[in-house]
């Protein structure tokens, strides 16, 4: 689920101030900040200190133990779940809540009664929203009737292509996004035409692609840049939802780095950038016997992508079957 609280600074944490510094070093080079893009000017960052155990003197710790401690700390934030797991019956999720929250169980029953019988679970590594969305996006094309698939894929590819100028307008260098763009494009293309890398896509090979860390993370990285570009280019639309920092800084710290969770603002920015419709079932324990579906993005799109939200986590919800 969520990364442990120590893994990231709170959003309101002050940042290294390197703009607007007193100008007492006229010759020193202090390039301007907050410009994205490879080989661009430097990025803001924070300094700090290594995490040492609070209740013991580090000097008493043999170095092998210290090493082990570091390793454990690193490992605990990474689960062993596949990046996207195989189709799982809703009953499995239900069983996990049976000894816990009755409200969650009643909400799961509601979904099952409505015909939502399966989910694909995403690893809780902070990238679950982006990964789930990408998976649902390609899956939707794969599920389209044979006769419509060509047009659905062509539409997606041209939409994707039209996003490219956005990325450079937002200040990203092609070197920063080309590889990621191509990775996503190749997967989408393989829905209708066999590619060298993936052949003709099937639901099995789609799952394998998303379970492969390299393929999967390149696509996640691409969607993160797209989300960032959307916010950078339309700061006024999103600034109201960003607390205590500038939109560019928000993108630097909370959108572009992998492993940083998505809040509503990233969800709507990405849906807007891709002009897709996303429906999110909120399994949040707020209502018994009922689940709210939140509609985000392009309301005219007829086949929304379906995601399941639980506090701090996103999975993919399978289509309704009655």
């Amino acid at each position: 689920m969520n990364r442990p609280p120590t893994s990231g600074p709170p959003p309101e944490a002050p940042r290294l101030k390197s703009t607007g510094l007193p100008n007492d070093e006229p010759q020193a080079q202090l390039p301007s900040q907050n410009h994205p893009g490879v080989s661009g000017p430097p990025t803001d960052f924070m300094g700090g200190h290594p995490i040492l155990p609070e209740d013991m003197d580090i000097r008493d710790l043999p170095s092998n133990q210290l090493y082990e401690m570091n390793q454990n700390l690193m490992a605990e934030s990474v689960s062993t779940r596949p990046l996207i797991d195989q189709l799982t019956p809703m009953e499995v999720l239900r069983a996990e809540y049976e000894n816990g929250s009755r409200t969650f169980v009643s909400q799961i029953d509601y979904l099952m009664n409505k015909g939502y019988r399966h989910i694909w679970r995403a690893r809780g590594d902070g990238d679950c929203f982006y990964r789930s969305l990408a998976y649902a996006f390609v899956l939707n094309m794969l599920d389209a009737p044979q006769a419509e698939r060509e047009i659905v894929v062509a539409t997606a590819l041209s939409q994707l292509q039209s996003c490219k100028p956005m990325l450079s307008q937002a200040g990203f260098e092609p070197i920063a996004y080309d590889m990621f763009y191509e990775a996503f494009e190749a997967v989408i293309q393989s829905v209708v035409s066999a590619t060298e890398e993936y052949g003709l896509l099937t639901s099995d090979s789609l799952l394998r692609i998303f379970q492969d860390a390299n393929n999967s993370n390149e696509i996640v990285a691409f969607l993160r840049l797209l989300t960032s570009a959307q916010i950078r280019l339309n700061p006024d639309e999103y600034a109201a939802f960003i607390i205590d920092m500038e939109p560019t800084q928000f993108c630097n710290n909370h959108v572009e780095p992998l492993g940083k969770e998505a809040d509503h603002i990233q969800v709507s920015a990405l849906a807007d950038a891709m002009q897709i419709r996303v429906q999110i079932a909120y399994l949040d324990g707020h209502k018994a016997n009922e689940v709210d579906f939140i509609d985000v993005g392009n309301k005219n799109s007829k086949e929304p992508l379906l995601l399941l939200y639980r506090p701090g986590h996103y999975d993919i919800l399978s289509r309704k079957v009655m």
């Binding site: 006229p26 080079q29 990025t43 960052f45 924070m46 300094g47 570091n70 390149e218």
Partner: protein
């Protein structure tokens, strides 16, 4: 297909060879896609006038999805700059090398950011926990988890 790190680093190297490195930064060696060395100095009127440092980048196969391991080289001819974020073993505590790393950053942009970090330094001192950290630090700074906090430079 070549690993993602090889594909990306090849592009970065081409760019460095064509466009050169930023002022004060020189590529010393990039013999493979695992370890690169740069020299870095801060030009102008700063606390590090006349000092030249050596930076080592180590990449795993997932770069730029994963961050590079970046540190100052400490050997017979090189020292780590004395700076509140730089440990005497060369390890650097900077969030962009940890959980604020993103694939938008590059070898060159990391160099520039570190140069700027040195340029804006107001007092030459080691991090307060330097001795304790250095005594037990892992070889690879990426194996250390840093807590990033308010900057006190």
């Amino acid at each position: 297909m070549a690993s993602i790190s090889a594909r990306r680093l090849k592009k970065e190297l081409t760019e460095i060879n064509h466009e050169g490195t930023p002022t004060g930064i020189k590529l010393l060696s990039a013999d493979d896609f695992e370890t690169w060395f740069f020299s870095i100095e801060v030009l102008g009127n700063t606390l590090y006038q006349g000092e030249v440092f050596k930076l080592m980048f180590r990449f795993d196969g997932h770069y730029p999805i994963s961050s590079p391991a970046v540190q100052f080289v400490v050997d017979q001819t090189h020292q780590a700059p004395i700076h509140p974020h730089v440990y005497s073993n060369g390890h650097i505590c900077a969030s962009i090398l940890g959980n604020d790393w993103s694939p938008v950053l590059s070898v060159a942009s990391v160099c520039i950011t570190l140069q700027s970090m040195l340029a804006s330094c107001k007092s030459k001192e080691r991090p307060p926990d330097n001795d304790r950290y250095v005594a037990h630090a892992p070889d690879n700074p990426k194996k250390t988890r840093f807590h990033y906090d308010v900057d006190r430079v």
